[in-house]
């Protein structure tokens, strides 16, 4: 059976069920009222305070930085404490602006930047032979497996729950914030929103448009990884990072 035949078969069953089955209770046929996203009426200081409170509650380590120099100092401290030798980072304009590479190079740390075009030696027009691209991906994967620390930015942060919002894309790998045992995320206070309800229309670009478009992967990170699967004892650091550092950039 072809795909569309399969699809039609199931949809037909569903339609039949809906026509002959139990009538949906009153209200079931109307679109329910869900609270539409409201623009954040809180000011940034309030949001920042709430974000820090929540992030720390779930085990994140927050470092406030008023400018690039403070951010670099924080990173220097983190790298020193973790004794990091190998770091993988997003190819992100903010991270470059902050000059984080200098700090790391000075400390003798090997830094891999997730720029696939460069790593695959792509031409100006954007072409690279598929094998080189695959090789480059495999190279980064191998580095990630050995990396002590991963650095990313964050598109947004949610104050209500102390959550970082990251989207995958060119230069923004997924595993860099999941594989290494330590994750450092740099986020600007101006990208704070109050809640998930406020965030989702922003992230899907659906404000003022009919159809939302999501990135291939949008993920929400709240604290380091955890489990309670053995005797319900809380253990930090399972498959994801053991330590989550958040460098919060914004005037104090």
């Amino acid at each position: 059976m072809t795909d569309s035949e399969n699809r039609e078969k199931i949809l037909e069953e569903v339609r039949k069920a809906l026509l002959t089955g139990e009538i949906a209770p009153i209200g079931g046929r109307q679109k329910p009222e869900t609270s539409e996203s409201l623009p954040s009426t809180e000011n940034i200081e309030v949001l920042t305070g709430k974000f820090i409170e929540e992030a720390v509650l779930v085990g994140g380590l927050v470092h406030r930085a008023a400018d690039a120099e403070e951010a670099r100092n924080h990173l220097k401290g983190i790298i020193g404490k973790c004794e990091a030798k190998l770091v993988v980072r997003w190819d992100d304009p903010l991270l470059a602006e902050l000059g984080l590479d200098d700090v790391m190079k000075k400390a003798g740390v090997e830094v891999i930047t997730e720029n696939l075009r460069i790593l695959a030696d792509a031409e100006e027009g954007g072409y690279a032979p598929p094998e080189k691209i695959e090789e480059a991906r495999a190279f980064v994967k191998q580095k990630l497996a050995q990396a002590d620390l991963g650095i990313t930015g964050a598109q947004y942060a949610i104050a209500e729950t102390g959550t970082l919002v990251l989207s995958a894309g060119e230069g923004r790998g997924r595993a860099v914030s999941a594989l290494p045992p330590v994750h450092v995320a740099v986020v600007k206070t101006e990208n704070l929103v109050s809640s998930m309800e406020e965030l989702l229309p922003l992230a899907s670009g659906s404000q003022g448009r009919d159809i939302p478009t999501m990135e291939s992967c949008l993920y929400f990170i709240t604290g380091p990884s955890r489990t309670g699967d053995i005797e319900l004892a809380l253990t930090i650091g399972v498959h994801g990072p053991k330590e989550l550092h958040i460098i919060l950039l914004g005037a104090e």
Binding site: K9, T163, A168, L200, S204
Partner: protein, 476 residues
């Protein structure tokens, strides 16, 4: 297909005897209940939110065909592939064929009840694919060859000593009885699997139609790794999981995560909308969404449609007095507790699972905590009615109710049989109760005592009181 050859009675009897299981169930259910209540502290009107959740689910199902179509279209637009599986067998076949075509030797799985429902791991093993569970609890029970005992914490029935022994044996290391060390050992072992896997298989907690997005909720990070590292990602999703919009999602996320783990949000929420794009450095090259019917459209067309609202949070388990004593294995399949008692007969046949709807005191605690207000007691009653109508119940029970039906048919008959009963019971009454009535009541009395019928019926006593009372009306 029910799991195991033994009966419900054998399974729950075993469970009642296992001391550690009893302790573990007590601990787990108490902890989860407490966690849930505490996490509701910052929500002003949780019941209003639950009502919203219920309406979202009702609306979503009432437009299921439209939503499914939209979901599939969006996923395909983003470069993903959609497979529509009417049965578990079709889904298994598709995934096995895909694995074959891509030369898959190793697959990593993020926790998915749906894949357990269709026995996916078995059919992958048949085609030479090693499918490794990566959720720590699921990993433990996979190594032990057992079934999950709780929806969220599948291995709570195991002591840390048992886990240490299991890991030491299977991983070839000598591990101490220390939970931290054991977790670290699992992390090390599973990292290799993540890095070398050819395929990542997940379920999804929700599928959002308007954006073609599936949503994974985890705390360990295994969902993130399974959807970042392997070149192929397969998501197996029951058709009832589709919801219309992203704003519906934020309501249901709040409800699910608080009801399940007592957190405001899980450590990781991953929203996947197709395969990787363009120059992304990692992420899957291919994304396959397997939409599974497997009886859901049949249930949609029945009085039990509401059971499809279930978010699989496990809150009902944690308050159920029956589950709290017998644990997940006793239910014999993949879904335990009150929801399991309803859907196991619906998916696998009422005849084979007729004991489950009776494993309930109908206390209603499950409905009180359900984040989408599913009327579980109502459905358990309906299943009992179905069982009676289809005559699966025992012969003696049917005769007893036929007799009862006759005996209460009129006032005269009722009075007659009551008086007869009062006379006939006297040899059996000891110390104000009937502990050993004759057969067939003796079967029912094995674990209960009957109170005796009163010497005078209420109506007789009322009539006596009426006669004795001085006439007050005469005085005006």
């Amino acid at each position: 297909m029910s799991r195991g050859q033994d009966s419900f009675k054998q399974r729950y009897s075993r469970a009642l005897d296992e001391e550690f299981l009893q302790e573990a169930l007590e601990r787990a259910t108490t902890r989860f209940r407490l966690g849930r209540s505490m996490s509701l502290g910052d929500i002003e009107d949780f019941d209003a939110l639950r009502q919203q959740g219920k309406e979202i689910k009702e609306y979503a199902l009432s437009q299921l065909d439209v939503n499914l179509g939209a979901l599939a279209d969006r996923v395909e637009e983003a470069g993903g592939k959609v497979f529509w599986a009417q049965t578990g067998e079709e889904a298994r076949q598709y995934i096995a064929d895909l694995a074959g075509a891509r030369g898959v030797k190793l697959a990593v799985k993020s926790k998915s009840m749906t894949t357990e429902e269709i026995d996916l791991n078995d059919s992958l093993a048949e085609v030479g694919v090693e499918a490794v569970e990566t959720d720590l609890g699921e990993y433990i029970i996979q190594l032990a060859g057992e079934r999950p005992s709780h929806l969220l914490a599948p291995a709570i029935h195991k002591t840390k000593e048992q886990v240490a022994e299991l890991f030491s044996e299977k991983l070839g290391e000598d591990l101490p009885n220390d939970i931290g060390a054991l977790t670290l050992a699992a992390r090390r072992a599973l990292r290799q699997k993540f890095l070398n896997a050819d395929m990542g298989i997940t379920g999804a907690n929700f599928a959002v139609a308007e954006s073609g997005t599936i949503v994974l909720i985890t705390n360990e990070g295994n969902g993130r790794l399974a959807t970042s590292l392997p070149p192929v990602h397969v998501a197996v999703v029951g058709i009832e999981k589709v919801i219309p919009t992203l704003s519906d999602l934020s309501v249901l996320l709040k409800l699910l995560i608080r009801s399940a783990a007592g957190q405001k949000i899980s450590s990781y929420v991953t929203m996947v909308s197709g395969p990787r794009r363009g120059w992304e450095i990692d992420g899957p090259r291919e994304f396959h969404l397997v939409l599974l019917d497997n009886g859901r459209s049949r249930i949609l067309n029945s009085e039990y449609r509401q059971s499809l609202h279930c978010l699989r949070c496990g809150a009902c388990l944690n308050v159920c007095p029956v589950y709290g004593k017998i644990g997940g294995h006793a239910y014999g399949w993949v879904y335990p507790g009150p929801i399991g008692a309803v859907i196991t007969p619906l998916y696998n046949g009422l005849k084979e699972n007729r004991d489950l709807p009776h494993a309930s005191t109908l206390c209603g605690a499950c409905m009180d905590v359900c984040p989408v207000m599913i009327d579980l007691p109502e459905m358990l009653l309906k299943l009992r009615r179905d069982e009676a109508e289809q005559k699966f119940g025992g012969l003696w029970e049917r005769l007893a109710f036929k007799f009862w039906n006759y005996g209460v048919g009129s006032e005269g008959k009722y009075n007659f049989f009551s008086r007869l009963g009062r006379k006939m019971q006297s040899p059996f009454v000891r110390n104000g109760k009937i502990a050993k009535p004759p057969f067939p009541l003796s079967r029912w009395a094995k674990e209960r005592d009957f109170p005796p019928l009163a010497e005078n019926s209420f109506r007789e006593r009322w009539a006596d009181m009426e006669n004795d009372r001085p006439s007050e009306e005469a005085d005006g």
